[in-house]
């Protein structure tokens, strides 16, 4: 059953130089209890996609299209109704654990806040549940009293608290926006394991944003690759890894450091992609990747390439995709 | 705030560009217009005023505004408009020199503290902290009490409490510049601290200082008015806005309008200068510019 279905999502940001198209025709589906990886270079619009789903886009942004969650279009919902969903059915874990927690409130109170807000629990009951949640995410009492303040915890511990907050009201969808980027390598693995564990346990769907392909490989069943505000390739994680049909995907895979050695045998990797991402105000009419693409041809320039199905559930937006399997 | 200013940005200010953008900010335009008007009025009053400023004409005393006396007359029959115009000269002169003293001594002190660090910086900054414990007006009252009341002494008093403001600002802004690559490069190239200060530091904080001077100028106008009101500033019969308000207060039941115009003049001037300062800050501060 489809839990989240995004169709033709466009996000435009008002800037002094004019409206900048940040996202163009983004679409994907996520089944209940499923997992979807979202990869792409920095600035390609991953966080914007997540914020659009949460309804937390910056004020100057305008979103069009459809974001259907549990049967209703979030973009058409009034703010009040969105507030009832956020934190209750939809939850999010942010990139920066150091700043995501309020420095003047105790971690116990911050975890309990959602319970009190959505479920109307009393202080005592909410705090008792908060202690259990903190226990579950690996910030157990008595070593970590719920009366601690965020500055008394390390980055990894704080991220665990943020995860506890997100899990508090049993959401159906958890969006994790680069949850480990700011952490050291050991905490990274632990936090990802924790996320996968709790997602499986609670049967919640996971939308995992990252630029680490190994993370996608290990944690998600399907994935999408984004470039300059567009989805360029989508499919089951195994299919996409096996084919890497879009030239950008191949470039990305090659640019990804060491972690992929298990997947990609050494010596068979492409060079890092030369060139820069076109900025949202000056995107070309044709394929956005044309300027950096080694396979670009004359027909790539006049219009955006339409999406082309390669296999059931695997599609690519490219006129000359790699059809052979990943060199192995 | 000490801005994060890159090399060259302030070294080659695109004045044309500033002007184009400045025109689109209402506050900046109003501030500039009011300030220009004030200066124009002051300059005109040097050569012409509707009536002679100090000539008394008792038969027409305490008149309400009329065609002959646009803003009425005071208790000696002197024309209020003429006195306001001459008062503008007084306010501008006192404030200009006072801010000049403050910046002239404060900027070198702050630059020195940033360039030398160590004990010099300690002394300068501790002295700064200390002056903050004293209400500025109290210091001014004390200084004029020592030196005696008068325009020159109020200039000194206001100037003195402007010194720490500029010293603090200059030090803060310079310190971050001293860590920047282009300054480090200049040091590696063997340039002396004084030369670096003159060539790299000061040009880069110039816009910051200009903004602060505008704001301090507005504060100085207020301070001068306050001192004159207390009888410590410009002495009669020389016209000053603060003194006019003091005299008007005793006549409040007879001629309330006398208490209106000088106050409006002070308020308008300060408002104009503050708007100008805010507008300049928005235009010149590259940090804000990037946010737009």
């Amino acid at each position: 059953m489809t839990l989240l279905s995004v169709r033709d999502l466009c996000v435009t940001l008002e800037t002094p130089e004019g409206p900048a198209p940040i996202l163009e025709d983004v679409g994907f589906d996520l089944a209940a209890g499923g997992s979807l990886g979202l990869v792409g270079e920095s600035g390609c619009g991953k966080s914007m996609t997540a914020l659009a789903v949460m309804g937390l886009l910056p004020e100057r942004a305008v979103a069009t299209g459809e974001i259907v969650f549990e049967g209703c279009n979030l973009l058409a919902l009034p703010e009040g109704a969105l507030c009832k969903l956020r934190g209750r059915r939809l939850a999010m874990v942010f990139q920066e654990p150091m700043t995501a927690l309020n420095p003047v409130k105790t971690i116990g109170a911050q975890v309990a806040e959602g319970l009190r807000w959505h479920l109307g629990l009393g202080r005592g009951e909410a705090e008792a549940r908060a202690v259990k949640l903190l226990d579950r995410v690996g910030v157990p009492r008595p070593r970590f009293a719920p009366g601690l303040y965020p500055h008394q915890l390390s980055g990894g511990q704080r991220q665990r608290v943020v995860i506890a907050m997100a899990l508090a009201c049993d959401p159906a969808l958890l969006i994790a926006d680069e949850p480990t980027t700011a952490l050291d390598v050991t905490s990274q693995a632990a936090i990802l394991d924790l996320l996968a564990e709790v997602a499986a346990e609670a049967g919640l769907a996971l939308l995992l944003i990252t630029h680490d392909l190994a993370v996608v490989w290990q944690n998600t069943r399907s994935m999408i690759v984004m470039y300059a505000g567009r989805v360029v390739e989508r499919g089951g994680t195994h299919e996409v890894f096996a084919r890497m049909a879009h030239p950008y995907s191949r470039g990305l895979f090659a640019a990804s450091p060491g972690a992929l050695d298990a997947v990609l045998p050494p010596g068979r990797r492409l060079a890092a992609i030369p060139g820069l991402v076109p900025d949202p105000l000056h995107r070309p009419a044709g394929c956005v990747f044309a300027g950096r693409c080694p396979r670009a041809a004359a027909d790539c320039l006049p219009a955006q390439p339409a999406e082309r199905r390669l296999a059931p559930g695997h599609a690519v937006a490219c006129l000359h995709p790699h059809l052979e399997a990943t060199p192995a | 705030m000490p801005g994060d200013i890159g090399p060259g940005e302030a070294l080659a200010p695109a004045w044309r560009e500033y002007w184009m953008r400045g025109r689109s900010s209402a506050g900046f335009v109003i501030g500039l217009a009011v300030t220009a008007l004030l200066v124009a009025v002051a300059l005109v009053s040097l050569v012409w005023t509707p009536y002679q400023v100090d000539v008394m004409d008792i038969p027409v005393k305490l008149q309400a505004p009329s065609a002959a006396h646009w803003l009425g007359t005071d208790q000696f029959g002197r024309d209020v408009l003429s006195r306001l115009m001459a008062g503008a000269v007084n306010s501008i002169a006192v404030s200009l020199v006072a801010v000049g003293i403050g910046a002239g001594l404060g900027v070198p002190l702050g630059a020195l503290a940033a360039a030398r660090r160590g004990i010099i910086e300690e002394v300068v900054m501790r002295f700064n902290d200390f002056t903050f414990a004293f209400p500025a007006l109290l210091s001014a009252v004390m200084i004029t009490a020592i030196l005696g009341p008068g325009a020159v002494n109020s200039i000194i008093a206001i100037g003195i409490f402007n010194i720490p403001v500029f010293a603090r600002l200059t030090r803060g802004a310079s310190l971050s510049l001293w860590q920047r690559d282009f300054v480090l490069a200049a040091r590696v190239a063997g340039k002396g601290r004084t030369r670096i200060t003159a060539e790299h530091i000061l040009p880069n904080i110039a816009s910051l200082l200009i903004v602060q001077m505008t704001i301090q100028f507005a504060l100085a106008i207020l301070a001068e008015a306050g001192l004159s009101y207390l009888g410590l500033g410009t002495q009669p019969p020389a016209p000053s806005w603060g003194k006019m308000l003091n005299e008007a207060q005793t006549l409040m039941y007879l001629a309330p309008q006398l208490a209106i115009f000088p106050g409006l003049a002070i308020m308008g001037t300060v408002l104009g200068l503050n708007l100008l300062g805010d507008g300049l800050r928005d235009l010149l501060d590259p940090r804000l510019r990037r946010l737009r």
Partner: protein
């Protein structure tokens, strides 16, 4: 925390010592012989000399400084030359006016400024925001003594509902006394409120952009709830700093406002003492004022610790 407090206390004492030295030196420069001033121009030289030695004026400067300092510490502020009464008594009489006046003004400006600043931030770039910013521009530009005169014109001359000046004294009852302090307090509060409202606005705007506010919104809190529960307390930290710094401006304001309203308070006392070369009163009052400014900023430091747990100490857990 204890270390922090001790450090602040030491800085407090050093600042006051330096202040006392500066004030003493400044007063040394002040022209006019207090003894001659007390006796008048026709005094005989030997009477003058006798008075000078009785007042301790013939002692070396260093000794006089130490004597004065010792007096301050032991609570003996000396005797006023012009009033002939202990300075302490003068202060006690007038502090009953100046302290309530300052407190009312601070309360007024806080009560006006913080809601206005929060409102402006919550309605950023909307009409309410523009209105509040306009008010603050005016409030900063209006000279407080002129605003006081306007208040007198409206409330005392035109409507005649409040007195134009003077102080009824607390003996006259609470309300009559309060009525005489109302206009002065409003005049003192206005420019402070304008500055404070601006600081509050920009501080709240800044905190509203913080990650934890977004986290709170992601939890489902409405914009308003996120502002009140998460942004406000963090935003108040810089606001409190400014309030501490403003205290010094408030004292300066009292000098001028007490003159506008003919209020017998500390501000007017110091003003008159300077005019009359009543050195001992000036010295004592300046130190008292400086001490109160430093003390207020000390209290602000304590308030920080209440608002911000990061300053309360307590290291890493685990």
């Amino acid at each position: 925390m204890a270390v922090f407090l001790l450090q602040r206390l030491a800085a407090f004492i050093v600042t006051l010592l330096v202040a006392s030295l500066v004030v003493f030196l400044v007063m040394e420069v002040l022209p006019g012989d207090p003894a001659a001033l007390m006796l008048g121009v026709s005094a005989r030289p030997d009477t003058l000399a006798a008075l000078r030695s009785e007042m301790g004026l013939d002692l070396p400067a260093a000794q006089r400084y130490l004597l004065w300092l010792g007096g301050l510490v032991s609570g003996d502020l000396g005797t006023s030359y012009t009033y002939g009464v202990p300075v302490w008594e003068l202060v006690r009489e007038r502090i009953g006016l100046s302290l309530p006046l300052a407190l009312i003004a601070i309360c007024l400006s806080t009560l006006i400024a913080i809601p206005l600043g929060v409102l402006a931030a919550a309605r950023h770039n909307k009409p309410a925001d523009v209105g509040v910013m306009g008010f603050t521009q005016l409030g900063v530009a209006v000279p407080n003594f002129w605003f006081a005169i306007l208040l007198i014109l409206v409330f005392a001359v035109h409507w005649q509902v409040l007195p134009a000046g003077g102080f009824a004294g607390w003996d006259a009852g609470f309300w009559p006394a309060l009525k005489t302090l109302l206009l002065p307090a409003v005049a003192l509060a206005l420019p402070q409120a304008a500055i404070l409202a601006r600081v509050t606005r920009s501080s709240v705007l800044e905190t509203l952009g913080e990650d934890y506010v977004r986290t709170a919104r992601a939890k489902g809190l409405t914009r308003r709830a996120a502002l009140w529960r998460h942004a406000l307390r963090n935003a108040l930290i810089p606001v409190v700093t400014i309030m501490g710094l403003q205290f010094s401006f408030l004292l300066a304001g009292t000098i001028i406002i007490e003159n506008v309203f003919y209020l017998p308070g500390l501000g007017r006392l110091i003003f008159q003492a300077i005019a009359q070369r009543d050195l001992i009163v000036v010295k004592d009052l300046v130190i008292l004022l400086a001490a109160s400014v430093v003390a207020v900023n000390f209290i602000v430091d304590l308030l920080y610790a209440v608002l911000d747990p990061r300053l309360r100490g307590g290291g890493h857990a685990g």
